[in-house]
Amino acid sequence: MHSLIQLSIVVLLLPLLSFVILIFFNRRLPRRGDFIGVGILGTAFAISAYIFWSVIVQTYDPAFRIAWDFTWIDLGNVPGVGPLQIKMGIVIDNLTAIMLAMVTLISLLVHLYSTGYMAGDKNYGRYFAFLGIFTFSMLGIVLSDNLFAIYIFWELVGLSSYLLIGFFFEKQSAADAQKKAFLANRVGDIGMWLGILILYSQFHTFSFEQIYANLAAGKFGLSHGWLTAAGILLFMGCVGKSAQFPLHVWLPDAMEGPTPVSALIHAATMVAAGVYFVARIFVLLTPDALHVIAFTGACTAFMAATIAITQNDIKRVLAYSTVSQLGYMVLGLGVGAYSAALFHLVTHAFFKACLFLGSGAIIHAMHHEQDMRWMGDLRKKMPWTFATFTLATLALAGLPLTSGFMSKDAILAGAIGFAKVEGGGIYYLIPVLGFFSAMLTAFYMGRQIWLVFFGESRTHLKPADDHHQDHHAHASHDAHSDDHHEEHGVHEVSWNMRAPLVILAALSIFFVYSPDPLDGGKGWFMKMIQTPATVVGEANHQIGDLRTASVTSALAEVVPAVEAPAVEAGAHGEAQKGGHGEAQKGAHTYSDVRQAEIVHAGHAAHFTAIYISSIMVLLGITLAFVVYVFNIIDPEKTAIAIRPLYLFSLNKWYWDEIYEATFIKGSMLIANILSWFDTHIVDGIVNGVATLVRKFAYLNDGFDRNIVDGMVNFTAFTVNTTGAMLRKLQTGKVQTYVVMLLLAVFGYFVFYLTRLIY
C-alpha cells in the first residue's frame, strides 16, 4: 500500500475519531473537548498538506493517480455473473489532493473560528462532534474510488448537514430547515442512486475505473439513451447537494444553522461535493447530458443572482450568491470547461468561506442581528473584518487581481467557446446568462458591502419589539450574547475568529494560483487538472466529424445537422457494441476532438470573456454605487415602481410556495386518501355490508363486537345471513321435521328420476 494512501486513510479517520470521542465524552472533558476537535483537524490538515505537497509540488504530473481497494462484500460465485465482490477503495490524484487540502484547511479554520463563535452554547461539545463527522463524510466523498462508497458518504454528508443545520433544534424554523435539507437531498439522491443502478446493472461493479474501462470498451448493454439518462440521473445527485435549480430551495433555509456551519457547508464542503462528483463522472457524460447540465447551471446562476439582489438578511444574500456561484461551476462542467469549473470550486470555497465567517463575525458582534437594514458603519468598529470581507467580496464579484476573476472568466470563456462549437443559437443563452449574473453579483455584493460597512449605523432604526423578539429567539441557544449584550456594544472579534478571516482572504488573491493575474490557464491548477478523455465516444462518432466541419462551416446549416446524426448515433452505438479495441480508439480520438474544440474555442474567447465580464462587473458596481452611495436612484421608489418584479425576487421566485402547494400538500393528500382507503376499503372490502351485518336484526352485541372485517367480514356476513335463514328451519315442531324429511327424500327421488329419464 502506497504511503500516501496510508496517510489519506489516517486523514479520513481522524475526524471520525474526533466525532466518537466528543459525542460520548464531551461533558467529561475540559472545555467540552473543543481542543480535541481543533487539534485533530490540525493534524489532519498537516497530513493532507503533506499529501498536497508531494502530489502537486513534488510529482508535478497531470496524470498522477494511485489507487488501493479491498473487498468489502463478497457475494461468492453468483450464477450468471461469476465471482462477485464489492470493493471499497481509495484513489488519489491531483484533484483529490487539492480537495483534501482544501476541505481539511477550511474545516480546521471553521473549528478554530467556532471556538470563539459558539463559546458558551449548551451543546458546545456536541457541536464539535458534528463538525467532526461532517468533515469525515466529506473526506470520504473526496477519497472514494467507487460510486457505492460515494453514495454512502453522500448520504452521511446529508445526515451531518441535517444534524448541523438543526443544531438549534428548539427553534421550529431550524427543525423545519434541517428536514427540508435532508428531504431535498434525498430527492436528488434517488436520481443519483438510479444512475448508479443503471451502471451496475450493466457491469456488476461500482468502481469508476472498471465502469469507465467497460464503457470505453463499448460493453454498455443498453441503448445510448440509457447512458445519457444515467448521466443526468447521476447529475441529479449534484442538483440536490449543490443546490441547483430546482432543488436549490433548501440551501437558504439552511442558514438556520450556526454561521460557521454555513461557512463549512455552503462554501467548502457539502455544496462542493456535488460539483466534485460531477467532475468524477465527467467522462461518462454524453453530450446530451452535458447540455442538460449546462442549462441547469446557467438557470441556477441567473435565478439565484436575481433573488440575491433583494434579500435583506446578510446570510441569505451570501446563500443565494453561493447558489449562483455553484450555478457557474455546474455551467462550467456542462460546457466542458472542466478545469475552469473545478478551479472556480476551489477559489470560491476560500472566498465564500471568508465571507461567511466574516458575516458570522458581524452577526456575532451585532448580537445576532442579521438584517442588513439595521447595520451600517461597521468599518471603523471592525477593521479586520471589513478588510477581509471586502477582499473576498471583490473576489466573488470577480474583479481583476482576485482568484475569483480568473476562475470565473475561465468558465465564461469556456461557455462562449461551447456556444460556438455547438453552433450558436440557443446555446448562446448560456454565456449571456452567465455574464448577466456576473453583473448582478457585482451589484448585490456592492449593495451588501455598502449597507454593512458604510453609511451611518442604523441599529436604532430597528423596531424595538421586533429586535427584542428576535433576540429572544436566540437567547435560548446562546447564553453568551445574553450575558454581555448590554455592557458593551459592537466590537471587533477575538483573534481565534480573526485569524481564519485573514488566512482565507489571503487565499483569494490571484498569485496563489497563477502568476498572471489575467490568465488562470498559466497557473499550476489548470495545468494539474486537465479535461479527461470521455469514454462514451463511440456514440458521437459522427457528431465528432460534423463538429469539425461545423467550426468552419456557417452556423445556419449546422444546426439541423447537429440533431440528425445524434439520432442515428444511438443506432450506430448499438451496432458498434461488438467492436472493442477499434471503438475504443475511435472513442478517444473523436471525443477528444469535441473537447479539444471547446478548449480551443475557449482559449480563443479568453480575452473576449475578460472584456465583457469586466464591463459587466463594473456596470454592476457602478449601479450599486449609483443606488446606495449617491442615492441617485432611490431603492424604495424603484422597488415600488417595479413592485411585481421586486416581490418576485424578494419571495425567491415563489419556489417554496410552489413546492408547498404541489409536492408537500400533494403527498400529504395522497397519504390521507390512501390511509382512508386502507381503513375503509381494503380493511373491509365490504365494510358497507359489514355495517349491514351490525344492523342485522338477529345480531346481539356480543357477536357484533367480534365481527371480523375485511374478507373475513364478507365470509362472516354471508355465513351469518345464511345461518340466520337456515336456522329458521329448526322450528322446534317435530312434525315440520318429518315434513322436511319427506321433502328431502322426495326431492332426491325427483332428482334421480330426472337423471334416469334423461
Binding site: R727, Q730, Q735, V738
Partner: protein
C-alpha cells in the same frame, strides 16, 4: 281359490302404498300425539304387508320372519311411546305435538 289367486302382487303393494301414505299423513297433520303414533304404526304395517306379499310371491320365509319381528318391535315401540307421552302430559298438560316446541333454532 281361483278368485283369490287373481289378486296379484300389485294389489298388495298398492294397499301398502296407501297405508304408508295414510300413515305419513297422520304423522304430519294430526295434533294428538297418540294419533301420530298410530300413524307410525300404519307405516310399519305397510312395510309388513310388503314383506308378506313378497315372501308369498318370491317364496322363502325371510319376509314372514321380518314381518313378525316388525310387529313385535312395533308393540315395544308403542309401549315406550305411551310412557313418554304420558310423561309429556304430566308436564305440559297436553299431548298436542305441534305445541311442544320450546327447543328450537
Amino acid at each position: 281359490m281361483e278368485q283369490l289367486t287373481t289378486i296379484g302382487l300389485n294389489h298388495y303393494l298398492t294397499i301398502s302404498a296407501f297405508l304408508l301414505g295414510f300413515g305419513l299423513f297422520a304423522v304430519m297433520t294430526r295434533k294428538n300425539a297418540i294419533v301420530v303414533l298410530m300413524g307410525v304404526e300404519l307405516i310399519l304395517n305397510a312395510a309388513n304387508i310388503n314383506f308378506l306379499a313378497f315372501s308369498k310371491y318370491n317364496g322363502g320365509m325371510e319376509g314372514v320372519m321380518f314381518a313378525l319381528f316388525v310387529i313385535v318391535i312395533a308393540a315395544a315401540e308403542a309401549a315406550i311411546a305411551l310412557a313418554i307421552v304420558i310423561n309429556i302430559y304430566k308436564i305440559f298438560k297436553s299431548v298436542d305435538v305441534s305445541s311442544i316446541d320450546t327447543l328450537k333454532e
